[in-house]
């Protein structure tokens, strides 16, 4: 089997190796995204925005124009770009805290308005950058720095199922999926479809990627993969949730 190229063309070699922790899932998601940018040949049209939290470490990741924004505010910044320059392909990249907590109103309303942008949200069940606090996506019973005895859903509610929420409020022309870094081919297909949805101008596109945080999970390699493939995937069902209806009809 031939080896895949080391780096997508749209990656910025000068800023590699990247700044994420060993074992982090961001590099994998950004690799899938980079390959999609290459294959769709859109490097000159992409405006990339990243949030606060670990995702901000991608601020100089690509050879594309990039804006590092504030926590939760990547969605409105990229919405602002898209509304002013509809020919740009706008990608808002964030974590679960940015998308489902501090920036949830922006995600909900951008989805409701069917903004023609692509949101890629990396779900690793914790706040990584700030040191492993409970996130909207922390699983029931899961121990974090602010749920040291395990997340009690009676006190803190259930984890946010973001794609299901977004699918419920977007029109049929939107694209919504949940992928996982444990299945990179599938994740890449999803990101590609999301970008194509934006390029076709039909609607909002949203991909949640289940990802890894061995640093804050305090897991070894085997446990890390076990957590994403079993626990996380059991609670957060992987797959396409909404695919734009074909223009030709069925």
């Amino acid at each position: 089997m031939a080896l895949a190229p080391n780096m997508p063309k749209s990656w910025r070699a000068e800023t590699k190796p990247h700044k994420f922790c060993p074992g982090c899932g961001h590099g994998l998601v950004l690799k899938a995204l980079g390959e999609c940018i290459d294959e769709l040949n859109i490097q000159d049209r992409v405006v990339f925005g990243c949030d606060i939290g670990c995702s901000l470490l991608s601020w100089d990741f690509f050879n594309v124009d990039s804006i590092q924004t504030h926590h939760g505010r990547t969605t409105p910044v990229l919405t602002g770009v898209k509304r002013a320059r509809p020919d740009r392909i706008c990608i808002a990249y964030m974590g679960d805290g940015g998308g489902y907590a501090i920036g949830s109103q922006h995600l909900v309303n951008a989805a409701s308005r069917n903004e023609k942008i692509t949101v890629i949200l990396v779900n690793n069940c914790v706040y990584g950058m700030t040191g492993g606090q409970m996130a909207p996506t922390t699983l029931p019973g899961m121990k974090t720095e602010t749920s040291p005895y395990g997340r009690d859903v009676e006190l803190t509610g259930n984890p946010t199922r973001g794609p299901e929420m977004v699918a419920a409020i977007t029109p049929p022309s939107a694209y919504v999926a949940r992928g996982t870094v444990a299945n990179l081919r599938q994740l890449k297909k999803m990101i590609k479809k999301a970008l194509e949805t934006q390029m076709n101008g039909t609607g909002f596109s949203f991909v949640e990627a289940l990802s890894l945080c061995p640093t804050n999970w305090r897991t070894n390699a085997k446990e890390t993969w076990g957590f994403v493939e079993k626990e996380m995937s059991q609670f957060f069902k992987v797959g396409e949730i909404k695919v734009p209806e074909s223009k030709e009809g069925k």
Binding site: S66, V77, G80, R83, A84, Q105, H106
Partner: protein
Amino acid sequence: MADKPVKGEKRFFVTGNEVVAWAALAANAEIMYGYPITPQNEVMHYWTRLAPKYGRRFLQTEDEISAGFTTVGGVLSGARAFTATAGPGNTLMQESMSMAEMMQIPTVVVVQQRGGPSTGTVIYSQQEVTMTCFGGNGEGFRVVYSTGSHQELYDYVIKAFNTAWKYRIPTFVLGDGYQAKMRESLIMYDPEERGIQMVPTEKIVGASGVPGVDREPKHLRNTYNTEEELYKVVGDLAKHYWQVAPEIEEYEEFDCADAETVIVAHGVVTRAAQGAVKELREQGKKVGHFRPITLRPFPKKAMEKAIQKAKEILVVESAEGQLAKIVKAEIYGSDIPITGYFRPGMGITAEEIVEYILNKG
């Protein structure tokens, strides 16, 4: 599609909010982002009626956090973009405006001050001075024009776009509920016909070419890793700000040359102060009035000159000393006593000022 929104010079008798919408159109603003809040709403109402006729755009966002950040996005993409707000909406916009300060994003925000703190009233105040000048976790690297009439609202909305884009400093036009809702006559004009060149915008992101191949990519950030790195960035911002400040500062003065009492007031209160000076001069009192038009940067040197003969300074404002605080800091070292006539959230008339000055002896 209609050609120019304003041709020639025409007299209008309209509300200030309508003036803001027309001025933004005349300035070739391409897009407004906004969220409803009184007393600013009619800026959006007029903009949404007029904009499509001239190929301009509008987005109603989910809140003012979003209105501020979408404006940031629009500006970064190279659009002459603006938003308008008031009171608690201004509070929510401070987050995005601190990002604009840090990243030198030429945003334009029109603030129609309402009563505060909190929801206060929807009517009028001058209580958003501190926030508009120094809000957010920043250093106040902003330009704040405080207008006092509909003509000035028109002039300074146009000017705000040019100041913002020329100096790459977030720029605010600080009006208030009276100016927003009152009708008053003014002359609208096409800036170009008056010889005002609109400063060209730039695609800060999204320029042509393949980044990394034809040109360097734009990697814009507001987060830094070390104290030294941040210190350098903020130092450069400060240096730039203080370097251009003298070009930006604006003020007016009335009968200050021999004035023993100098009334300091800004915004719509300048009109009462001017009236009071006229009345008191007729009574033979040596009273003058200094009016900063830019509250940030503050016209410090001009003020120092205006108070050379002064025995007292009276700050008059519809707030509990927000302007007075700035004045005290700016003329630190002067031994002229400073007192205040503070009416938070209340209008102020010339008669009141005259009475206050005569009664206090």
